[in-house]
Symmetry: C2
């Protein structure tokens, strides 16, 4: 279901209902760009630490706009053993609410825009019809503005308890207004009086004067003429009428406020449900969602983790799941489109899915990839297939694994880290893995060099014979990190001395910027061996010993009709073994190349 | 005529012809935003110097995209005494030419986007169908890339004159390729040989090896398979065939290059024509045009002036013209829409205009404002009306004044400066006006203060009695500028000491950033008295003495049938008088308020 500005309000109850009923959601975002630095591959390094990666994404990706948000709600229909979906495709745009509201600037990356254009993306739906939104701080400010306006109109506050100081040059003007009003109050037949348009400052003086002089009996409001000139209208009202009008106005303001908060209300509802939210390679989606609809991202990764688990208590990344045992060995390509295709084939079993009444259904054969609603939908399908596959390995097997099953708990709150060699995921619930990097070398080389030059370097010399040359440098990863820390400290000292001049402009970038290119010599580092944190593998451990604990699946709604097979137990054994490998990288040497260029 | 990516190439000859024939052009641009700082009014100050204004616009506006460019070519039809127009509305977008070409990032400002959306702007025409372009440096780089590729393919260059060094691990691969080719060369019936897809590095090695081993008799090229895998195809060719193929390839590359340069070719043609280019409030249009289609703007205003007069030797700003005598007194509102309406009434005479055959005509009654092609069209109309009005003041009067008339020369190469109190224009051909600012006060005050507080301050105190208080400060403009210079010097010294850390990030921002709000107390500074530089007023001077010099209008094509009147001579006298006033501001006091906030 496509939701734009014009049909948002009328469909919001449907969205709320879908969120209320759902077992879990899948989400996806489309952005106006990916990275505002050089290309993403140049910016990120295969040996980024999670902290470094977070800082890079925060610095180089948050200025883009999340302008299409896909939400697919999945609910299991027990009677008919099928999943019922409600899929929404929202177009969002930070349309300024009023002249005083924030005027958001965002960056577009032409390659991303061009890619979306080639996929038939409708930009007019974003820019002309996007649903507005406010983050929490903006919402608070707007609420305050309304409150202030109301208290001013009501004559509340200390200012109006005593006569107002009228500037000399305004005295004549105010006296004339008072005279007019006195006349108006004396003529019984007239109910309202319209004053001439005047400046905002003059209107303020009138409001203050009147609320002091006539605390009761009149109602004062500012209206706009056809020519957009603001003028004050005064009406005679009894107390009841005055209250009724105020309540009416208050209700109207509340509605305006809700309209301004707009799409953020959907995100708040998802967050407040506390239900599982599934995404594919979802780190950027999560960062953008929080940044755009809650608040600017925190400086520090740990704060980000705290904030994220607070907003979305249960997240699951299907790309991480597909890259982890037992899926890793049977899934070659974990891109969403390829994953969706693969999971239709044995040993996987595509789930029975139907779209709810009144919701258009997606046809996975026609591939509407990169429409956020569709991507969310197939992400959900992938999750169900993989979760059910885990169930099929149980003894007795389960054909249908719930979103609250302990079987999938090892995957909760771990977000896939793209192109990091030896750290599979960002762990939202605790410290991140710290792989040993004894086998990693760091090479600094002239920026003119190409990949082939590096191949030649390593094929022509043994590393030890030419550790230092004029134009390039080879050091161990440990040396590299040590020196980087050192320079960071020198930098920080310098920064502290001169914080006023520097910090004001870029307060949260602790270190210098590196233009880092990282490669690994082909075939030297093999396919990575990645699994969720071993500390959470207990459940699988027990499973692998053939114990079928009803508590494990206590919240499940599916029966497990199939008997356990020995083969599956073996698979789970391997799963367990690989869990314990997580974080200890292989011993093959790898290289991390750095181009000493600034950008 | 609407021009997008798909119909650009076919219509380019029409554009060139229009430029070739035209007497003058009018241009207009639509942007993705105006200012990336706070609001434009907060950013700019009524007392900016031209240098300061240039720096602010450069810093805060050049990251936006000029995405619609209007060009209207005007040609006078002597036989029928009417202007014939050819109007073009181009949509432009920096679609990346290839994976290695620049991936332009640009900023959008939601208020600007929302405004354009409300005017019915079609964003899909920009993002999905915009004409690509390259600036001069990008064009040079692409040309180099093509040359390099060609020289590599031709086996030119030193590398291939001797045996290539093949890395150890590639030797086996290359040997196998050579063996395959030897076999292929021996079998007469086969004309082509397709190698298996391989890496770019391997292809380079193959190219180098073959151009050394078989400098003649074979043609080597890289093609893509259906799966987008690149592989090498070798064909047997005689010398003639080889040359023909190379020429074919060269021609194809030239076409690709031209396609990539795209819309910049239109700008180059306008620039190369050397003809008069008219715009309304055109400083930002000119800055964006140079920035986007020529090169990043220079650091320094004087360099910008030089560059601009080099690219566009004759510019004329209709907003400046309308704000200057003799128009100033008879034109109240100089916004484009209002100006166009005003110039239809007496004493102005709307020109006879017709769109050329095959060009859709605009109806000024229907007001398609903010479509760049339309805005360019009515800007041209305004120019003609105002130029003709100047002609009507001559003795004998001229009904039709040419774009090359000396009458309009005083307006050449002076660009209107928005909201600067006492400097009407940026003078592209020399130093700018330096008004005395003895009557200007500079007030620093708490950011919570509102305009009314300032009114109160100045109505309650004489300036001298409370020159320094705790929360605000009043100083003369001269003191303010002096202190600013001082702090700039301190800053610069500091910057020089630590240039490595600071300059790298923001090399061209000499001073700190001020959040400057400027107001003038209402009525204190009157409507400004602005005229082109007095040094260029000679022509009007002579005119006012009633001399009708045929040389003055030597390039004119219109006859001057009407006799001179005394009233007009009087008007020109006033014109002359006001010219001499330019740059010397009135003696009334004004205030310049600065909020001491950082942003």
């Amino acid at each position: 279901m496509e939701i734009i500005r014009s049909n948002f309000k009328i469909n919001l109850p449907k969205v709320y209902q879908a969120i209320e009923e759902a077992d879990f959601f899948a989400i996806d975002g489309e952005f106006s760009g990916i990275s505002d630095g050089p290309s993403v591959t140049a910016l990120t390094s295969g040996f980024d630490t999670p902290e470094e990666r977070y800082q890079k994404l925060k610095k180089h990706s948050m200025d883009f706009l999340l302008f299409q948000f896909g939400l697919c709600a999945f609910k299991y229909d027990h009677a008919n053993s099928k999943h019922v979906t409600k899929s929404f495709n929202f177009y969002v745009f930070p349309k300024p609410f009023s002249r005083s509201s924030p005027d958001v600037k965002f960056v577009c990356q032409s390659s991303s825009i061009d890619f979306l254009a080639s996929q038939g993306f409708d930009f007019n739906k974003v820019f002309c019809s996007g649903i507005p939104y406010l983050n929490q701080e903006e919402e608070r400010q707007l609420r305050e503005q309304f409150d202030e306006k109301r208290s001013q109109a009501n004559g509340a506050g200390a200012l109006t308890k005593c006569p107002v100081t009228i500037p000399e040059d305004q005295k004549k003007f105010i006296d004339q207004v008072i005279e007019k009003i006195e006349g108006f109050l004396q003529r019984e037949e007239k109910r309202t009086l319209e004053l001439n348009p005047c400046t905002g400052f003059q209107r303020k003086l009138i409001y203050q004067t009147l609320s002091w002089k006539y605390p009761k009996g009149i109602h004062v409001e500012t209206l706009e003429t056809d020519k957009k000139e603001r003028h004050i209208v005064i009406s005679k009202v009894d107390e009841e009428e005055r209250k009724r009008r105020e309540q009416e106005k208050y209700a109207k303001e509340q509605e305006e406020l809700n309209d301004a908060v707009g799409f953020s209300r959907v995100i708040h509802a998802i967050a407040n449900s506390g239900k599982l939210v599934v995404g594919h390679n979802m780190l950027l989606d999560v960062m953008h969602t929080i940044h755009q609809f809650y608040c600017p991202l925190p400086v520090d990764l740990n704060e980000f983790k705290e904030m994220t688990t607070c907003v979305f208590p249960r997240l699951l990344d299907t790309k991480l799941m597909a890259s982890t045992q037992p899926f890793k060995d049977i899934i070659n390509n974990t891109s969403l489109a390829e994953l969706e295709k693969r999971l239709k084939e044995t040993p996987f079993d595509p789930p029975k899915v139907e779209s709810a009444e009144g919701f258009p259904s997606y046809d996975t054969a026609s591939e509407q990839l990169h429409e956020a609603g569709y991507d969310a939908y197939i992400t959900g399908l992938c999750f169900i297939s993989m979760a059910n596959y885990l169930g099929s390995l149980l003894s007795p097997p389960k054909t249908c694994v719930s979103a609250r099953s302990k079987l999938i708990e090892p995957f909760f709150n771990k977000l896939f880290l793209m192109r990091v060699m030896d750290i599979p995921y960002l762990n939202l619930e605790g410290p991140d893995l710290q792989p040993k990097r004894d086998h990693v070398l760091h090479v600094t080389f002239p920026k003119e060099w190409k990949t082939s030059d590096l191949y030649q370097l390593f094929s022509a010399f043994a590393v030890n014979t030419s550790k230092y040359a004029e134009s390039y440098r080879i050091q161990t990863y440990a040396e590299y990190v040590g020196k980087k820390q050192e320079s960071k400290q020198v930098k920080r000292k310098w920064t502290e001395d001169s914080w006023k001049e520097v910090d004001r402009k870029r307060p949260h970038v602790p270190g210098p910027c590196y233009h880092t290119n990282s490669f690994t010599a082909a075939g030297i580092v093999g396919k990575r061996t990645l699994s969720p944190d071993p500390r959470e593998a207990g459940v699988v451990d027990r499973e692998s010993e053939g114990i079928s604990d009803p508590e494990l699946e206590q919240t499940d709604y599916c029966a497990d009709p199939l008997p356990e097979g020995r083969k599956k137990a073996k698979k789970l054994k391997r799963m367990k073994k690989e869990f314990s490998l997580a974080g200890s990288a292989s011993d093959s040497p790898a290289v991390l190349f750095e181009v000493p260029d600034t950008w």
